[in-house]
């Protein structure tokens, strides 16, 4: 079973990296970009028995820093 964890900065937390990407896009002539927020995607290959609670635990204990980041878990059914 695979799961994806999306980690994003909480609203209101300054994202210097997103800002730099935004500036670079404008530099390339892309107009109409209102804002850019950068985050992380972590793919986990897990034993089938892994529960949602365990994945959440992984996020809270290591994958995300909940002081500044939110996380969202997406389970992918094995093909």
């Amino acid at each position: 079973m695979k799961a994806r964890v999306f980690i994003t900065l909480k609203n209101g937390v300054l994202d210097p990296q997103g800002k730099a990407i935004h500036h670079a896009l404008e530099g390339l002539g892309f107009s109409g970009v209102n804002d850019v927020r950068a985050g992380k995607l972590i793919e986990l290959d897990l034993a089938d028995a892994t529960s949602d609670g365990e994945i959440e635990d992984m996020c809270r204990k290591l994958l995300a820093n909940t002081v500044i980041e939110n996380f969202r878990i997406e389970r992918l059914e094995t093909a």
Binding site: V13, P16, Q17, A20, L62, N65, V67, I68
Partner: protein, 222 residues
């Protein structure tokens, strides 16, 4: 004073810190590898050094904060043993939940490496007792992720409880309220981005950091 310096893969200020501690205390600190689960008996002070533990993977300090030795560091801090986290060590202590807030990428995205003027905001702590309140000093900084952030409530609490130990005089990295270093609520854990151990000997060009270690020795030995 019997001290320990924690060493992670990627630490690179561990020896600078060891030299400062040896010159201050006359005794070599124990260098403790991150895989250890206990600290040597009778440790009276713990230093978490600067560097780039685990290559700053995931987040600066994130991996190191979960390494086996950190449980022993936390237990010691809970028993009142003084702990200092410098630069990457500060990041490790916030990631370990021993200090509030987080250290994010510098607002200007640049690695900042220079001496910076600081104000000593709290001269009552066991780390800062040899400074005058409001005194202006200089320590070098060398970091990419030194932008201290916490929610307004936490920042107000830190200010109100005198837990902001050092503040930048100028804009350095985007830190909220120009915070450079903070104390935990018990006052025995200090985290700061600037490097007092690199402002120690005359050859460093500045010796303002020496009093931090001397004050610590005085308090611990008292």
């Amino acid at each position: 004073m019997k001290s320990a310096v924690i060493v992670f893969p990627g630490s690179n200020c561990d020896r600078d810190l060891a030299v400062a501690l040896q010159l201050t205390t006359g005794r070599k600190p124990d260098m403790v590898w991150h895989k250890e689960t206990t600290l040597p008996d009778g440790i009276e002070f713990i230093g978490v050094p600067g560097g780039f533990s685990y290559g700053d993977y995931l987040r600066s300090g994130a991996m190191a904060a979960r390494s086996p030795v950190m449980r022993a560091v936390k237990d010691s801090a809970a028993r009142g043993i003084p702990v200092i986290g410098i630069c990457n060590g500060f990041q490790v202590l916030t990631e370990a939940g021993m200090l509030p807030g987080a250290l994010m990428r510098n607002a200007a995205l640049k690695f900042v490496c220079r001496g910076v003027p600081l104000r000593v905001e709290n001269s009552q702590s066991l780390f800062t007792c040899q400074y005058e309140a409001g005194e202006e000093i200089s320590f070098p900084v060398a970091h990419h992720d030194g932008n201290y952030q916490a929610d307004e409530e936490t920042l107000d609490r830190l200010e109100g409880e005198g837990r902001v130990a050092f503040r930048y005089l100028d804009e350095v990295n985007g830190s909220a309220r120009r915070i450079a270093g903070i104390l935990n609520d018990a006052g025995n854990v200090l985290g700061l981005m600037p490097h007092p151990e690199r402002a120690f000997e005359p050859a460093h060009g500045c010796t303002d950091g020496r009093r931090l270690f001397e004050g610590l020795l005085e308090t611990v030995s008292a």
